[in-house]
């Protein structure tokens, strides 16, 4: 735990108000240098927005509001982004639905159940999961997981065929490389970050509240429902949003297992496409308006993830600050 910064910092030698008025050159230049390095972060973010929008301008000006049209056909010069926005939303949603219960479960296990010396090896395993490269998940997904899931998908598909809602979601066509497979792979990939952030937030629940609940005779479940979750609700929502942002932007694994078909369908087992995947797969051969359109998809993706990340980080920071202050 870091100590709270004292209200008054000790005045370093050479700072205004100390004995000498002018600070030595070395001191001032280090300050400028560090400030420049810090501002670089802001500069890069602004430059990303400006330069990519500039490259995408011919798409924006050609299509106008049609950029959200539902037809993507480069051969016919039609570049509507809707199939990819839809695919991004669907795969990210599947990933969140699969990953969040597991992540929160592991986070609660780490904070409320296992003792500290057991928690450390579990955290190591989570870190291992986080360091497996995206492309390795994709390789495994397309060569091992997708062929295996194909059989499961088709048996589920034939089982629910004709059933009203389930038939629309899980009915045929069934393909190993599909929205759902991409969702599963993305779920594996976002579990570490959602787990570690949830754990951080749950760990700020004051021990005295926890012990109070136990002293009243609560079981662990009742303590978690009455104390831990209400305290950390906001932070967990932030962690989930952050996972959503990751799932939306994760590229290579999705590019390999999503099936590469720009269609809007309710069938989750059908091949689809999402924004990062189409950029990765088609940017190399694209030129002219086609390239501008892919660049434009990047601009949209950047905007979506920035909005989600700002919201998520705000929520997490506020939640942790409130806990510490309480």
């Amino acid at each position: 735990m870091s100590s709270v910064a004292p209200p008054e910092e000790a005045a370093p030698a050479g700072s205004p108000g100390a004995l000498s008025e002018r600070r030595p050159l070395g001191d001032r230049s280090l300050q400028v240098l560090t400030l420049a390095a810090g501002i670089l972060v802001l500069v890069i973010l602004v430059l990303i927005a400006v330069s990519t929008s500039q490259q995408a301008s011919s798409w924006f000006s050609k299509e106008g509001t049609n950029i959200f049209a539902s037809t993507w056909n480069p051969a016919a010069n039609q570049f509507g982004a809707l199939p990819f926005i839809y695919g991004t939303a669907i795969t990210a949603l599947i990933a969140i639905v699969l990953a969040v219960p597991v992540s929160v479960g592991v986070a609660l296990l780490l904070t409320e159940v296992v003792p500290y010396r057991w928690a450390r090896p579990i955290v190591y395993v989570i870190d291992l999961l986080a360091v497996v490269p995206s492309v390795v998940w994709g390789l495994w997904g397309i060569l091992v997981l997708a062929p295996w899931l194909q059989g499961i998908y088709s048996s589920i598909g034939s089982g629910v065929k004709g059933v009203p809602v389930l038939g629309n979601l899980f009915g045929p066509p069934a393909s190993g490389a599909s929205f759902f497979t991409a969702g599963i792979i993305l779920a594996f990939m976002i579990t570490p970050i959602v787990t570690s952030l949830s754990r951080e937030v749950i760990a700020t629940v004051p021990a005295i509240d926890r012990q109070g609940a136990y002293a009243l005779g609560a079981t662990r479940l009742e303590m978690i429902r009455g104390v831990s979750l209400p305290h950390s609700q906001g932070g967990i929502v932030g962690a989930v949003l952050l996972g959503l942002g990751r799932a939306m932007g994760e590229t290579i694994a999705a590019a390999l297992v999503i099936g590469s078909s720009a269609t809007i369908t309710s069938h989750l087992f059908a091949p689809g496409y999402n924004m990062p995947a189409v950029i990765a797969n088609e940017f190399g051969e694209a030129s002219g308006v086609f390239r501008a359109a892919l660049m434009g998809l990047g601009v949209l993706l950047f905007a979506f993830t920035i909005i989600i990340n700002v919201a998520a980080r705000g929520i997490v920071a506020r939640s942790i600050r409130r806990q510490r202050g309480a």
């Binding site: 430059l47 592991v106 998520a312």
Partner: protein
């Protein structure tokens, strides 16, 4: 005393009840979620090791990249390993010093100022920017004017690493106790000198370990390199000009190949890449355990 001795002993343990069962179910679910989390990791590691180990040999790691139709025992990924090392090293040389300087600003100079809080917040946000956006960004500001090169790839990876290094270093600097700084000020040192000779050395273990984790993450990234270095099959020792290649890119192109030999080489490259990432991660752990004076 005699009266109480005759009384029935009160059983404080909880009776078998629905409350207790629910609690058990919750614990079981938590353990189940942990199992669900490690099973895919186990599957991936076992598959990569099983399929990769049969391909990897000294010649696989050094020989050139063949065309996809060649069988598994032909050729290797030598140029990709050279490219990965070159580009990741250059990205590290760019991002780590800048990241450490940025963190020094956040924690030593700008403490609690609005600007430093904004930079810290935006660094957090930047860690969430998809890696493919970094590729598109460097493509539009660099590749379009100067062409594909390892340097462009290093820029893209550097953009990815910068916020991670800033955040991990900032966290480590925050753990250095103020009494150390105040002691040095009391001896008459300037802020620059205190930072360089007291604060950074005190936090160096944590800073190095955070940087190693950032390198581990960058070494496995594919998307930022896709549009910045292209993919070639020969060694390009000049990182500053001409198209280059890297391990993740080779895995990506082999994974989408229909040929068995190419897929087998993909597994071999995946095992190499995972080994590099894990070695960096373990190195980070060792550095933290042996040299970090202040840990969370």
């Amino acid at each position: 005393m005699a009266a109480t001795a005759g009384q029935r002993q009160v059983d404080l343990r909880e009776p078998r009840s629905w409350r207790r069962s629910k609690n058990r179910i919750l614990t079981a679910l938590m353990v189940l979620s942990f199992v669900l989390m490690i099973v895919p990791l186990g599957f991936v590691l076992v598959t990569v090791i099983a399929k990769g180990a049969s391909v990897i040999s000294a010649s696989f790691l050094t020989s050139t990249i063949p065309v996809d139709v060649e069988p598994a025992n032909m050729g290797g990924v030598g140029p990709a390993i050279v490219g990965t090392i070159e580009i990741t090293a250059l990205a590290t040389a760019l991002a780590v010093p800048l990241g450490v300087l940025g963190a020094v600003y956040l924690n030593e100079y700008g403490r609690n100022r609005v600007l430093s809080r904004l930079i810290g917040f935006m660094a957090d946000v930047m860690t969430g920017v998809p890696s493919i956006i970094m590729g598109l960004f460097i493509f539009s500001i660099w590749v379009l004017h100067f062409g594909y090169s390892g340097l462009a790839g290093a820029f893209a990876l550097g953009c990815l690493m910068l916020p991670i290094v800033i955040r991990s270093t900032d966290e480590m600097l925050r753990l250095v106790p103020d009494s150390l700084r105040e002691g040095a000020y009391a001896l008459g040192a300037t802020k620059a000198r205190v930072t360089a000779t007291v604060v950074l050395p005190a936090a160096i273990g944590g800073i190095v370990s955070g940087a190693l984790l950032a390198v581990a993450r960058a070494a496995g990234e594919t998307a930022p390199l896709l549009f910045t270095i292209l993919t070639v099959t020969t060694v390009n020792a000049n990182v500053f000009s001409g198209p280059n290649t890297a391990l993740p890119l080779q895995i990506f192109s082999n994974a989408s190949s229909p040929y068995v030999g190419a897929q087998a080489r993909g597994w071999g490259a995946a095992l190499t890449l995972i080994a590099i990432a894990f070695i960096l991660m373990i190195a980070a752990r060792v550095v933290t355990a042996r040299y970090a004076r202040y840990t969370r």
